[in-house]
Symmetry: C2
Subunit: 620 residues, 2 copies
């Protein structure tokens, strides 16, 4: 087994595909990390905006959280229906393009692509950010840490869906388990103390209120909290990754993820109110995250605290994994509709669409490098992509049921319709609330991406119409080509080339570019070694042509001559023989001129349909 196989895994046969399929246990780490880890930053983002309200703020968080949970429930029901309707993976792109037309589909595609790339960058940098705030000595290495995690995620994901699920099982379930324990114990304590439990470690005092609640503030808080909903569409996009019964497994996975997320959001909100926990100023010195305060208050600062915080950190960093799972599937689907390069359709050695992973890693590392690994400011951006995709997908489902008709169609339409309206309104709120924070970038990027995709589609359509042919092969006029052989001195390479030319065609032309002014010598060599013996054998003697080259250029006169030949013989193909020396070791390359390579390149660039290049290698 080679080292490469050891790292990347042995290649998987196409027939092994079923064994790569996963169930809900592995499905949660693969598709759920993005959604679940949102519990760590969604409530935090909302509460941070409530700081100016003081104690009053934390009373509002409960109602806002439950509004988000209700939205989550609507989205959940409609995605379940999507999974039922699209057993091969019904991402927003598929649903929107099939039911609302190509433009809506492209809108969803662009939104989702941006969303996944941002999610990968933000997930990794959030994890590293938390790690760095725990160990400030690591601060100068932020970018290096981000790129290292990106590399590790890539290596794991390149091994395939199944191995990824296994690799991330432990941190995922540790995160779920510890958070559930905190919420459960916290809830019991709160009930036992009739809603006023005493925290083991008291959270920082809430600041004095400096402003009043306004509708605008409420909208902004809701929009920030909604970042907790990103990643919910992942399962419906990746249905094909689940094992039989595919749809049931996918729905079961989605249910578990959504229920857990609801418990987390609701539990965190209620406990924050019960324990009087509010956000601390993230730019101040006394900053402490909501979850850190909550765990301290409920469980104290023992080993459990550090276990739970460790699990949160790793799940944040690994939440990028959802992008690895879905981005390649998304780009494959788009590429199948000719809107992205066809390489995204190729399945790699481990049955993955590896080019999608490469593209994701490329864009993510560019983002990380540009922002130096600090991508917090990108958080508002990716909720927009997610909600745009939600809305289009739900609206698409409404049309889907309408077209399908039949029993229960109206009920389905109502469920998806509510989802569409709710997520659509949320999208507007988020867009308005976050416009100046960077959401405007998305409103430029999405149209740009759409234009790019339309351009790609147009190119493919044109190519197809150009090379398309609906008749059988023509077998008339199979005349031999004219073969051109560049000639320098008389070597075995020259002999091989001339012989091969004579095998292919009875019309051969040898061309000597006279850059060194030694025409007589070449003529004599030709007469002795080629013309005389061939004439004696009674065969057609190849023509010898001299090209003058006052400026000592070798290739340009040759290429011009070949183009001229092609013009002179309009119904004939020209085959240019290029003898090439192949060295044994790469470091011998500079010892030989690269004219053969250059000639091939020039003929490709300047040639046309009737000029072919025949490469005659000579191995040393």
């Amino acid at each position: 087994m080679s080292f490469f196989d050891l790292v990347a895994g042995k290649p998987l046969a196409t027939s092994e595909e079923r064994a790569e399929h996963i169930g809900p246990i592995a499905g949660i780490p693969v598709f759920g990390l993005d959604a679940l880890s949102s519990a760590a930053y969604g409530p935090e983002a909302a509460l941070t905006l409530l700081i100016p309200l003081g104690v009053a703020g934390i009373t509002h968080i409960v109602s806002i959280s439950f509004a988000i949970i209700a939205l989550l429930a609507i989205v959940f029901f409609s995605y379940c229906q999507t999974i039922d309707a699209y057993p091969n993976g019904g991402g927003s792109y598929t649903v929107a393009s099939e039911n609302l037309g190509e433009t809506a589909g492209l809108l969803a595609a662009a939104a989702l692509m941006i969303d996944y790339i941002l999610n990968a960058a933000v997930g990794i940098s959030a994890g590293v950010g938390a790690l760095v705030s725990a160990f400030p000595a690591l601060l100068p290495h932020t970018l290096a840490l981000c790129l290292t995690i990106l590399l590790i995620l890539t290596l794991i994901n390149m091994r395939g869906t199944k191995d990824t699920g296994v690799a991330f099982l432990l941190p995922t379930y540790l995160f779920i388990g510890t958070l559930l324990v905190v919420i459960l114990i916290g809830a019991i304590r709160a009930i036992a103390a009739s809603g006023h439990p005493v925290p083991i470690i008291a959270p920082p005092h809430l600041p004095v209120a400096t402003s009043m609640l306004s509708l605008w503030l409420l909208a902004k808080v809701f929009a920030s909290g909604c970042t907790a909903m990103t990643g919910v569409e992942a399962v419906s996009n990746g249905v094909a990754a689940f094992r039989e019964p595919t749809q049931r497994n996918a729905k079961r996975t989605l249910t578990i993820i959504i229920v857990l997320l609801m418990v987390f959001l609701g539990g965190i909100a209620l406990l924050c109110r019960a324990y009087g926990i509010g956000a601390t100023d993230p730019t101040g010195t006394g900053y402490q995250s909501i979850l850190s305060q909550l765990i301290s208050a409920v469980m104290g600062r023992g080993w459990f605290y550090y276990l739970a915080i460790g699990a949160i950190l790793s799940v944040l960093a690994l939440s990028a994994n959802t992008s690895y799972a879905d981005f390649p599937r998304l780009t494959r689907t788009i590429a199948e509709h000719d809107y992205l390069p066809h390489v995204f359709k190729i399945r790699g050695r481990r049955l993955l669409y590896s080019h999608g992973i490469v593209a994701l890693v490329g864009f993510t590392s560019v983002l990380l490098i540009i922002f130096g690994g600090v991508t917090d400011r990108l958080i508002p951006l990716f909720a927009i992509g997610a909600f745009l995709a939600f809305t289009l997908s739900q609206a698409g489902m409404v049309m889907h049921w309408k077209k399908l008709g039949g029993k229960g169609a109206v009920r389905h339409m109502i469920v998806n319709g509510i989802g569409a309206v709710a997520t659509g309104i949320t999208l507007l709120v988020v867009l308005v609330a976050k416009f100046r924070d960077g959401a405007w970038i998305i409103t430029i990027l999405i149209p740009a991406l759409i234009f790019l995709m339309i351009g790609i589609k147009r190119h493919y359509t044109r190519v197809d119409s150009e090379i398309d042919i609906d008749r059988p092969i023509r077998i008339d006029t199979l005349t031999q080509p004219l073969v051109v052989v560049p000639l320098d001195r008389w070597t075995r390479i020259t002999e091989k080339g001339l012989r091969f030319a004579m095998k292919l065609s009875s019309q051969v032309e040898a061309v000597h570019v006279d850059a060194e002014q030694c025409r007589a010598k070449v003529e004599q060599m030709w007469q002795r070694n080629v013309a005389t013996p061939i004439a004696q054998a009674g065969q057609a003697v190849p023509r010898l042509v001299f090209l003058s080259s006052p400026y000592r250029f070798v290739l340009m006169p040759l290429v011009e001559h070949i183009l001229q030949l092609e013009r002179d013989q309009p119904d004939r193909q020209i085959a240019v023989l290029v003898p090439e020396l192949v060295v044994k070791h790469w470091w011998q390359t500079p010892l030989h001129n690269q004219r053969a390579q250059l000639l091939k390149l020039l003929l490709l660039l300047r040639g046309n349909q009737r000029i072919m290049v025949i490469n005659i290698p000579w191995y040393l």
Copy 2:
């Protein structure tokens, strides 16, 4: 006229060569800058070592300078003889290898190559160093300034020998003129004051003596002063660049350069003693160069002072130009003996050996970048290369005259013999005196270079013996090759490929790699579009072969199959047709798979003498 032509000059025809030849006027800037600029640092280097002797030191500088001048005279006479004997350019390499054997020649070649590269780096950084000490604000930009000068020199030199001479006329003759004026006026004043002239601006007081003269110190001073002799071999190496009468013009140029250098060295030494000028500590704050002190003492600090200092700075920086003139000629000569890659033999558009210039610029910029533009420490190194070359060249000339015999041979042998012994002793002195300062690097580099050159020669010899052929073309067994055509779906590209294959040979095999498990579809397409119509026309139907690919690889099974075919048919050539889509714009490249490129590469790497690649381009 294109922008490129404007910068690099129009291409020159081979027949225009004579017009590019130069006379003594342009020869001095082209070949003499290295030697003449030495006057600016040779005496300085010697006097710096004499600082500990105080006033006594500057009395010794005269005798040491005259010893160097005597050595210069010996070298001059022997190089004149070399020019007579080698009208096509008698660099140390040619003389040593023709008369002392290949090993001596390689020793000279390695020494000279290192010498020229060091000279370019040191010249430029010395010029920039002087500039920076005049304008300390430029200090942070040292490296950028060095690379800019390198670029300018390259651009000028790329225009050819003649244009270079014209471009450097002004600074060169300004330098010569101002220095001559200073020496003349200084001498007149000194004579008028009976050897004790009053300086217009008094030089800094000489320090109190702290040590006594020792033989070891004297040797070191002499070795340092000898750096003034580097660059003297340049003319004899570049004889071919001069116009008719070639040898007379070359000798006239050499004479002017040597006489000027002698006047400079003698004049500076005598005036230093007369005006009491000694070196100042180069690391101290009161540092002032010898020439600066001398010009101030003789002429004061008026406009003339700044004109002269400016000329010195520019000549220092331009002294790198000697390397540009000689390095490419040297590498060409070595490449003609197969000891360096043959590209060095190609003459570029301006009749120059441009690859040599590229190599020189490459190595020089690497040196400049490694040392951050401060290459002062390299100065001792390059005297060694120069003196090694002197010695080998003189010794070679002794053998040359011995072989030639005849009238005057003995006289010639004596002249060159004295030269060889004198420069040989100097080489030993320099080597011992500078060994710990870095000369040891040269003793490693030279053997390494020699080994490299021997390896290159061995490679060329082996290649020649492999491809050499002393019989005419064989014209028996001209059997058609077996043509292999990869097949995917039925397009115009497929048809074109199949048609071309059928034109070339009656034995054609179409190969489909079944990576997507659609064998039946391909079989049906084949039957309808190819097999049936060809059979109906009564022609030989190509074979269709399916290759299974459980791991979805496309290229590997194809290459394996071709290699197997080649093994199965030991007396046949295999031609592999590679249809390739050529896009109109480079940015369309990622939209199409690069399998054609990869297949060509794989076949080249893994193929053998009997596998040819035929490229069928399809232009969109």
